[in-house]
Symmetry: C2
Subunit: 326 residues, 2 copies
């Protein structure tokens, strides 16, 4: 049997972390034939609760789970990590300005990038889930000199899955009938869910729904789905965010199906006129453990306008944290 | 493809239900090749939160999930159900007598038994998770005239998994090295975790640990693990209870490995001198979708004494709810 995969999770005692850890231990991320070591990281006040999570993980007697590490020391937590899921972040408090939010999170993700650079596997794959995810990811990548920025990604798979489910529901189909959904840009309300290349049961999605529904119902619903969940549940998306994180990592490792792609926020490389330097969600294919931005898609004026808005937001965020980018 | 499995969950917006639903939809109960319909049941005040759970399930775009039903109507919720996981129960409030707890839960599980009898698949498999699980199960079974009492089981798999993990840890082994752990009796502090027939890496567990450790450390720790988790986490076991429920159902359907068994609370049939009539945890093997109590195990005086104590507790619970047993 190969070495167990070392999987680090920050914010591991929080609601998303709690939903993630057990599904990873059950084999839902890497498959039923790959054993895992969970390296669970929390801030010191959450260590007792984290210990409870570790006890519950032990109580599951998971066949694939070889060891659970709990720590508040990020170098210990990231030590040898093959995968790092950066879930813990500082949420926006009442009256908090966006600049303060970005700066406070920068104080978390800068040191985490450095610790990953110092301690993780040289092949570590990093997924940032904690918001503002794209810019937190940018900060982590910029502070990890020994790693390739391409090893750092942020999560728009939850948006991708939400968009897929919404279009399937509208078309009277199943989510497995949907191909080539695309989320462009920032994991925020400026994201652009794009159905121009999407098919449902082999038919162009844009022919199955009206432009009015697409623009006036679908786009804002996907953009604001997080708030809709909070209103219904009384708490934010946890299990669905965890599920999307597993999907993101599994797809990165095991690949996208032939004829399909997924959405990942990755360092922009100039594709589609998005100037390099921000972590921007693109359509990507994955194969042999690597992702590639899908090239050559036609972009109409509407889409271009939306892609630019979300790009501008990301550039604004980057400017606000310039002092945290070495 | 075969018809999707219809899986009903009561208390589906609670913490255990929330941990269960997503793992079932991901294929962790019945496997990655069986599609499912989730029939989620809650009491009316929890329906808005349950709607939020259903929205998050949709947002996961699970390939195996065909439909989600949310309802407060148990006949609708159990309609055609192939599997029913009865998780919702009334917890013990401050100053509440055990008799009141049993009676209040009887008012939940009696009608649920009748609704299963009226509405579920004739082959429904029922697992009671909500406490006091064994006697809740007895009440449900007794109120389901059209079903075989053997279709009703209660969960001691969490205790079984906890005991397996504890003995593995003590022996410096992995939980997958442990065979033939047994939980006897009630899912309560009187349960008897029995290692007399257990092996670790092929060696008798009783030769690997001292009798003093077994009796003074192991038994009380397994019996009181729930309280230990609450102290650490600040809330009761949720993900580990859900994981054990999945294990219970998966083992029932897919079978126990050759040379091993599991623990399930099932209607006593006179085996081991436990007079019929209570739902008592036994070592069972499962094959072809059915369970069988393991026969012929030698029972020493210590084990017999403990088996009797937990039997007496179950008979006391049964006497307290006699008016709920038609």
């Amino acid at each position: 049997m190969s070495q167990p995969a070392r999987i680090a999770i920050t914010g591991a005692a929080g609601n998303i972390g709690y939903a993630l850890a057990f599904r990873i231990a059950a084999g839902d991320m890497l498959g039923k034939d790959r054993s895992v070591v969970l390296q669970l990281i929390e801030i010191p006040p959450a260590l007792p609760a984290l210990q409870g999570v570790a006890m519950e993980l032990a109580d599951c007697a998971f066949p694939l789970l070889r060891e659970v590490v709990t720590t508040a020391d990020i170098n210990e937590g990231f030590n040898g990590a093959d995968y790092a899921l950066l879930v813990g972040a500082k949420p926006r408090g009442p009256g908090m300005e966006r600049g303060d939010l970005l700066a406070d999170n920068g104080k978390i993700f800068g040191p985490q990038g450095k610790a990953l650079s110092d301690s993780a596997s040289r092949d570590v794959r990093v997924l940032v889930v904690g918001n503002p995810a794209n810019t937190n990811c940018l900060i982590a990548a910029a502070n990890a000199p020994a790693l390739d920025p391409g090893q750092f990604t942020a999560m728009t798979r939850l948006d991708h899955n939400r968009a897929t489910a919404q279009i399937a529901d509208k078309a009277g189909a199943h989510s497995t009938d949907v191909r080539r959904m695309t989320i462009w840009g920032n994991h925020s309300a400026t994201q652009h869910p794009d159905i121009a290349h999407c098919t449902v049961g082999g038919k162009p999605a844009a022919e199955l729904v009206s432009q009015a529904w697409y623009r006036e119902q679908f786009i804002p619903r996907v953009q604001k789905r997080g708030a809709e969940i909070i209103r219904a549940r009384g708490s934010s998306s946890a299990a669905s965010a965890a599920s999307a994180a597993l999907d993101h990592m599994r797809t990165w490792v095991h690949g996208t199906p032939e004829g399909d792609w997924t959405s990942m926020a990755v360092p922009s490389d100039g594709s589609y006129g998005i100037a390099p330097g921000v972590i921007y969600s693109h359509p990507v294919t994955c194969a042999a453990g690597a992702y590639s931005i899908v090239q050559g898609l036609a972009i109409d004026d509407f889409c271009r306008e939306r892609m630019t808005i979300t790009d501008q937001e990301l550039r604004g965020e980057r400017a606000a944290v310039a002092n945290l980018l070495p």
